[in-house]
Amino acid sequence: MSVLSLENVTLRYAADAGRNTPVLASIDLSIDHGEFVVVIGRSGSGKTSLLNLAAGFVKPSSGRVRLDGAPVAGPGAERAVVFQDDALYPWLTALDNVAFPLRLRGFSKADRLRRARALLDQVGLSDAAERHVWELSGGMRQRVGIARALASSPKFLLMDEPLGALDALTRSRMQGFLLDIWQQNRVGALLITHSIEEALLLATRVIVLAPNPGRITSEIFTTFGRDHLAGTPLSEIRSSAAFRRLQDELTVLIHAEEEGIAA
């Protein structure tokens, strides 16, 4: 079983050397293979920086990022990333975008196209294979982005507000979709979001970040996502008393410090 862990990580950007407050301070977080960890926090709490550390795009100023005990030196195919602004390549078709990670790894054309077609099928976009990126809606683009991330058979799926740019209806449909993908592909998921509802619906564990410096202030375990996968409709979960209570609780936790300052 794989584990992705941040151990006592502090991050300071070189340009901010004069400032004393680091972007992230003393972060201890470990994500197990079957987990769905959602990080939530106000703007400036370092959510995206946390994901960039896990992905290997930035190196910690102190502390360690490890994958199965081995230090992470940079980005790698075992930790696939889904971006808020889909980051699909506009010069490639949907199919070629999904096949792109396989192309980098030297798969034969037939192999990579067969696998890419299977992945597009899994995200429900078989018909869009030959379409260009600009011909796809926002929700379709994100699904292509997720299929592309899955193409490299990652152990972890790191998602930076993947649903942030979508309209409300598409967004709630995509939440169920993310749960299916997570279950079917048996990956560890790390998702960044602004939405309390989204955090509670998807996560097995919600991590709350507070700013100045970015740090973990609380942790909540939830089972709503698993309930949905077991058959409970999302609408029923959203309107349940237990969901609403946790929603209120999480709201208080996220804004706790803000109110502390006000008082």
């Binding site: 992905a55 980005p75 195919a77 930790r79 990333v81 971006f83 010069w91 790894r105 260009h132």
Partner: protein, 283 residues
């Protein structure tokens, strides 16, 4: 950098104009831009023939449109100074395309190096910045001393004039590559070379094509200068020798031919852009 290729025939920029709103409120479709442009050309031709047929201007300075047309016909059939129009055009095109090939082969890698690496920028920037503001006529004599008066020196001078726009637009294109696009490739395990080939080069392609168009423009102006020296063929040479004998109709015909060829280049460039980088104007 965005390139408008929406309306293919009109070469004019198709941005919103101040008078557009007024036209739209008048409850009729606005006059197509091509028609307005055609009307301008017709009016200019009319004024030109008026001026020459009523003798306002001596034919020595401004021959009539008919005379220029006849000059064009005789150029095409019998030619001027030992070569037909097609041969003059062919000689010039060979130089332009030869120079363009040299400029692209040397300029695109140089632009990639400037845009993608600090070392490359450090090494090449001073050279480009030295070359860029120099008028080609200034280094033409030196190139002739080095390479002689044959084809090589002409192609070299035109290529030197084309290099800065190709290099600079390539470097700009490289810098316009989105950080997410690069990071995505890195996350899939791409090497530096793979990032360059699969992400940076395609991202830079629209800008490289724009640079190529600018380079062609620079190429035409340098061509005429280069053909002033020891050429026996070429549009620039044709115009120059016609001017020495005051054969003004051939001079004007030559100018018209250069304009027409450059216009065709522009159309071709736009078609190539649509075909190679259809995403540049969408998304």
């Amino acid at each position: 950098m965005s390139i408008s290729v929406e309306g293919l025939p009109p070469i004019m920029p198709t941005a919103r104009h101040l008078d557009e709103q007024a036209e739209q409120s008048a409850d009729r479709p606005p006059l197509p831009l091509v028609w307005i442009s055609l009307a301008t050309i017709t009016a200019l031709l009319f004024l030109w023939s008026l001026a020459s047929s009523y003798g306002f201007v001596s034919p020595l300075f401004l021959p009539s449109p008919v005379a220029v047309y006849q000059a064009l016909r005789s150029l095409a059939i019998t030619g001027f100074v030992d070569a037909t129009l097609a041969e003059h055009v062919g000689a010039s095109l060979l130089r332009i395309f030869g120079a363009l090939a040299v400029a692209l082969v040397a300029g695109i890698p140089a632009g990639l190096a400037i845009g993608a690496s600090r070392l490359g920028k450090g090494i090449l920037d001073p050279i480009v910045e030295f070359l860029r503001p120099l008028p080609p006529l200034a280094y033409l004599p030196l190139v002739i001393i080095w390479l002689g008066i044959g084809e090589a020196s002409k192609i070299a001078v035109i290529a030197l004039a084309m290099l800065p726009p190709v290099i600079l637009s390539t470097a700009t294109g490289v810098r316009s590559a989105s950080a997410d696009h690069v990071n995505a490739a890195r996350a899939f395990g791409a090497s530096r070379l793979q990032v360059l080939r699969h992400v940076i080069v395609p991202s830079a392609l629209p800008s490289i094509l724009t640079g190529t168009r600018i380079a062609l423009g620079a190429g035409w102006s340098t061509l005429v200068a280069a053909e002033l020296v020891a050429a026996t063929r070429g549009l620039g040479f044709m115009i120059q020798s016609a001017a020495q004998f005051l054969v003004t109709d051939v001079v004007i015909a030559g100018i018209v031919v250069i304009a027409a060829v450059a216009f065709l280049f522009e159309l071709a460039a736009r078609l190539i852009e649509r075909w190679l980088v259809p995403w540049a104007t969408r998304r």
